[in-house]
């Protein structure tokens, strides 16, 4: 019996793996050459075709994220109006400093944000109070 099990194990180890013999289940893409020049070229091409007025989220050198409205495109840069409560100066983003950019779609409103904030705040406060009352209260 031992000899049989040993032979079986040897055969299994010697044979190609079952999963491997069926070929790859997921396609593994070879990594793109991480040359910044190519990345910037692709990002630049994408950024140039964004429509004026689009809401965008851009990540620039230093991993700083800027969210705002695209106001102007030039051959070398984007000009964005940052999205903020109080108006802020326009931001010019040269393509050379662009690390990532994506177009965002409006999904909420100020009223909704305020309502959500208020609900979360009141709910959290009440929840914490109940916990404290439960922990400290008598009767």
């Amino acid at each position: 019996m031992k000899r049989f099990i040993a032979s079986l194990l040897c055969a299994l180890f010697a044979a190609p793996g079952c999963a491997a013999s069926q070929g790859p289940r997921t396609q593994v893409a070879p990594p793109l050459p991480a040359a910044p020049a190519i990345q910037r070229e692709v990002l630049g091409e994408f950024a140039r075709q964004l429509p004026l007025g689009a809401r965008v989220r851009a990540t620039v050198t230093g991993n700083r994220t800027i969210r705002g409205t695209l106001l102007k495109r030039t051959d070398v840069a984007l000009v964005i109006q940052p999205r903020a409560r109080v108006a802020e100066p326009l931001v010019e983003i040269p393509f050379s400093s662009l690390l990532a950019i994506e177009q965002e779609h409006k999904s909420n409103s100020t009223g909704k944000a305020v309502a959500i904030g208020a609900a979360v705040g009141v709910g959290a406060a009440l929840g914490l109070l109940l916990l404290i009352a439960a922990a400290l209260g008598g009767d």
Binding site: A84, R85, V86, E88, T110, A113, V114, I116, G117, A118, V120, G121, V122, A124, A125, L126, L128, L129, I132, A133, L136, G137, G138, D139
Partner: protein, 204 residues
Amino acid sequence: MALLLAGATSAGAQTTAGPLFRADVSGSLGWFNAGKSEINASDGRNDWYNRSLYGGAAFAWYWTDHWKTEIEGGASSNAELRTYTQTLVNGRPATMYSEHRFSTRRLAIGQQYQFYRNVWVHPFLAAGLDLTWEDHNRRDDIYSSLPSQSERAPARTELLARPFATVGLKAYFNSQTYFRTDMKLTFDSGVDEVIIRIGVGVDF
């Protein structure tokens, strides 16, 4: 508190531009709860009074867009806490029912850190020192085999200096006006008071 003040100082040093606004004022109403374990410590009975309304107003100065110093004045309405104890009167067992009435006035100064910059909703944390003038009225009714007695203790006011911590959030209606909700905890030997507040404020 010292840590928060130090944080404010270093944050101010790092920021070159001034804050979006220099100051704000706010008013709030809240549900005031206070623990009185020193009065009703026996038998693990409820030693909190919970039926009190709090009203307050605050002025704050922004050092940066994240750090501000806030001074707040407020008061809480009269609230009642009833207790009873077994005692001896002239060597005879008696039950003493006590009615305590509390109200407070307070002045607090604290340092607040608000998260995010120039957005519509800002969560915040605060800590500081709370000075409370607590008015306490007490009436005792004593029941025994003797005719019952009623005694009223002289009213007294006590000044309490305690640290506090606040967690809350501000949600703006427009660029300057905001709704505010928070929970303030005052500490002595454990949590002494809990105030849950809502209010409005304006930056200027």
